[in-house]
């Protein structure tokens, strides 16, 4: 210890001449990334509740918010943040499926009443709502759940182009679990699904590798999982919250995965239907399509005896006769139908119900349910459309299924932009490939590419297989030379609906085009055929606009013993048919109990 040691600490006096570091105004802004108070863009938010699920402090609760409506894809709930719980970790921001939630860099909130310290960001206005800076979801490559859909193995276009074998191979266990892992379990899809299937529950069952539980969940609301797992229009995927920033979950394929895993002889054991109670009520169902099959399934669970009358020799209706085999193999339809039959439903094939038969059914059964669907093709009614080589797609598809030889020339034009148009396009393309080794189909529609009603992947796959899809044209006339079709004249279609939203296409007559063809297929929609209804009944039944039968919430018509459902009520869609089935089952059961 020297003199130096005594003196050297006095160097600290040197600080007297330095500039002080004290902040004159201590109220600083937070850093641009600072995790301060919550902001929420309530218009983008869909109320999926992922923020609530990830919050380790239960600081977030989902509450109904003023001015936010519950609708498809939006639960109408908004997060309420409790600053008596929050720890400002920002995990809620990172997990937010839509990216609506963020944190501002505001950090000071003083109050005397602790009850004040909770609010719904975005709804309860706060001074920091407009602040730009603050914590946002990190970008890029920072995700709390998979963004990309697990792709399903498919045959290559060359391979599948000339065969009707199912070309989508289905998920393996690993793939299914990986895909199921992406689900955030919000359950927003359930309301949008017409059948309100327990989607999060069966996805969870896949994650837990509990196929039996998954099967039970499926059959709770949908007796045709093999079919739906392949051809459902998957409206659920459109609202999937994961789809806001990444690919939506492939809910449909996951459903198929579950159904594919279970052999049909295990069904009764898993679903606990080895013994079901049977009462004495009898119900006749007309048409063995999804609506009737679904209604029959649920009615037999409720203990009623069902008999289905089918005109053709196989069950399935439009699913069998309208959808090509490469999308929905017939043995899968059989698998679902066989199980429904095994519960006591009788299907009588090759029975055409006409007016007389209908009255007989009315006498012999307690309830009659009609689910005859839309099997009458609509025509464009343009000049030349009455030619014998102008076909209805629905008729052709049926004939293909029945194994009949149909006309397959080298050049075909299909009019229509829906899924049925794609089905016939791809079926004809396959037949052409088999016959000529090349494809010559042009498909045209009124709708422009972006608004075509067909599923996107259908269009892409059709193109892969060699068909030409050329949308945005209005058919004008069919040119016929020497009794043979030469082609189709079309003009550019500008818009389909007028200002009032009515169907009224506006065409640009100067922008013309001509598609060469030897055969033309019309696929612009279908109508229903209710000629089997006796005239005296038709008078008593109420019809709504556009000729549809009026039904109540439970699909009861104005005649209390007559129920109707499926495509003829709700438009062409399998899942609606199934949904109608179980609603109608409730309605029929109620009606029978009252009687």
């Amino acid at each position: 210890m020297s003199l130096k040691d005594t003196l050297i600490p006095f160097k600290a006096w040197g600080n007297l001449v330095k500039k002080p570091v004290t902040l004159k105004d201590p109220m600083r802004e937070g850093a641009p990334r600072y995790r301060g108070f919550h902001k929420n863009d309530v218009d983008t938010c869909i109320g999926c509740g992922s923020c609530e699920a990830i919050c380790e402090n239960e600081a977030i609760v989902m509450v109904p918010a003023e001015g936010i409506e519950t609708k498809d894809g939006d639960s109408g709930l908004r997060p309420l943040v409790d600053y008596g719980r929050c720890c400002w970790c920002g995990l809620c921001v990172d997990v937010c499926t839509t990216g609506s939630l963020s944190l501002s860099n505001e950090h000071t909130w003083i109050c005397e009443d602790p009850e004040e310290l909770k609010y719904i960001p975005g709804i309860d206005k706060k001074p920091w709502d407009e602040k730009e800076e603050g914590w946002k979801k990190p970008v890029p490559n920072y995700h709390f759940y998979g963004q990309e859909r697990v792709s399903m193995e498919e045959m290559e276009a060359e391979e599948r182009g000339d065969s009707f074998i199912e070309f989508v191979k289905g998920y393996s266990k690993e793939q299914a679990q990986k895909e199921a892992d992406r689900c955030v379990e919000c359950g927003i899809c359930v309301a949008t699904c017409p059948a309100h299937m327990g989607i999060p529950e069966y996805i969870k069952a896949i994650r837990n590798d509990d196929i039996e539980e998954g099967m039970r969940v499926l059959y709770e609301t949908n007796p045709l999982p093999e079919i739906c797992g392949r051809i459902c229009t998957h409206k659920c995927e459109d609202v999937c919250s994961v789809g806001h920033e990444g690919d939506p979950l492939s809910i449909r394929w996951l459903k198929r995965y579950i159904a594919d895993q279970v052999p049909s002889d295990k069904y009764k054991e898993i679903l606990d239907t080895q013994k079901i109670y049977k009462g004495d009520k009898k119900i006749a169902l007309i048409g063995a399509g999804p609506a009737s099959l679904s209604a029959a399934y649920y009615l037999s669970l409720l203990g009623h005896n069902c008999t289905i009358f089918e005109k053709l020799d196989k069950a399935g209706g439009m699913m069998r006769y309208g959808i090509p085999e490469y999308r929905l193999p017939y043995d899968q339809i059989d698998k679902d139908v066989k199980y429904i039959e095994s519960l006591g439903t009788e299907i009588i094939y090759n029975t055409n119900v006409d007016a007389a038969k209908f009255m007989e059914l009315k006498e012999n059964y307690d309830v009659v349910y009609v689910g005859t669907g839309l099997h009458l093709g609509r025509s464009t009614a343009i000049p030349g459309s009455d030619h014998e080589h102008v076909f209805q797609s629905i008729d052709l598809l049926r004939e293909i299924t029945e194994g009949k030889e149909i006309m397959v020339p080298e050049k075909v034009v299909v009019i229509g932009g829906g899924n049925v148009a794609m089905d016939i396009t791809r079926s004809i393309a396959r037949l052409q490939k088999i016959k000529y080794g090349k494809v010559g189909v042009i498909t045209t529609s009124l709708e422009k590419e972006e608004v075509m009603p067909a599923d996107r992947e259908e269009v892409v796959e059709a193109r892969e297989e060699g068909s030409i899809i050329n949308p945005g044209w209005g058919p004008k006339s069919i040119e016929i030379e020497d009794g043979k079709i030469k082609g189709l004249h079309v003009v550019r279609c500008l818009s389909i609906f007028d200002e009032t939203g009515r169907f009224n296409p506006s065409l640009d007559e100067d922008d013309k085009n001509f598609f060469e063809a030897d055969m033309i297929v019309e696929s612009i929609g279908q109508g229903m055929d209710i000629s089997y209804l006796p005239e005296e009944l038709k008078e008593k039944i109420e019809f709504g606009p556009r000729g549809r039968i009026n039904v109540d919430d439970y699909f009861q018509t104005s005649l209390d013993w007559l129920f109707a459902g499926g495509d003829m009520i709700q438009g062409p869609d399998v899942i609606h048919g199934i949904a109608n089935g179980h609603k109608a089952a409730i309605g029929i059961d109620n009606f029978l109990n009252k009687k």
């Binding site: 004290t22 937070g30 402090n57 239960e58 008596g84 719980r85 000071t108 909130w109």
Partner: protein, 223 residues
Amino acid sequence: MSETKNNNKFENPHYAKREVTGPDGKQFIVDPIKDYFSDERPKVYEPNSIPVVEKFLNWARAESLWVLGFGTGCGSIEIPPLMTPRFDAFRFGIQSRPTPRQSNVFIISGYLAVKTLKRVIRSYEQMPSPKYVLALGSCTINGGMYFDSYNTINRLDHYIPVDVYVAGCMPRPEALLAAFNRLKELIKEGKGEKANEYAANFDWYKENQKKIIKDWNMPDYNW
């Protein structure tokens, strides 16, 4: 009041009545609870009858906030920055004191373990009136991160009255300064009356405190 309701399991041997030999060799009996502590209950403070005087007193109180140096939770790590050159709370009349007898502001800086709560109550009661409490962070409001912990309280206002809450986990020194400013405003407006609330609702507070401090082996009121 001096009769503490001890259950035997947690009896504090230091507070037992016993015979002691003094340095001068004399023997005498001590009853610590009775001898060492006053058994008077806290009193409600009546403001001075002359408004100007009261106003002056409030001004003086507001401008000399002496904080008890008792960091109860994580938030205490933001106290040193507050007291050092950068934020320099001294210029606003805030300084920290080592003992409750000299302080009039108690900063509950976050979560309170049950074991600390016991010390906090003692310290709070030893502070001379008028006294104020600042509660920092989520933990004091509704449990915060530790809402499901078996050893931390959920809401402070059931045990001691709170004047000002500061949101944050943890609040920044800026927020703390803002809280002090709010406290000053409250005091100047004559609204810093929470110590009176404690005195007025003394039994309710004691009931809550004793509900969770199961080894209540101290006098009911220490000052």
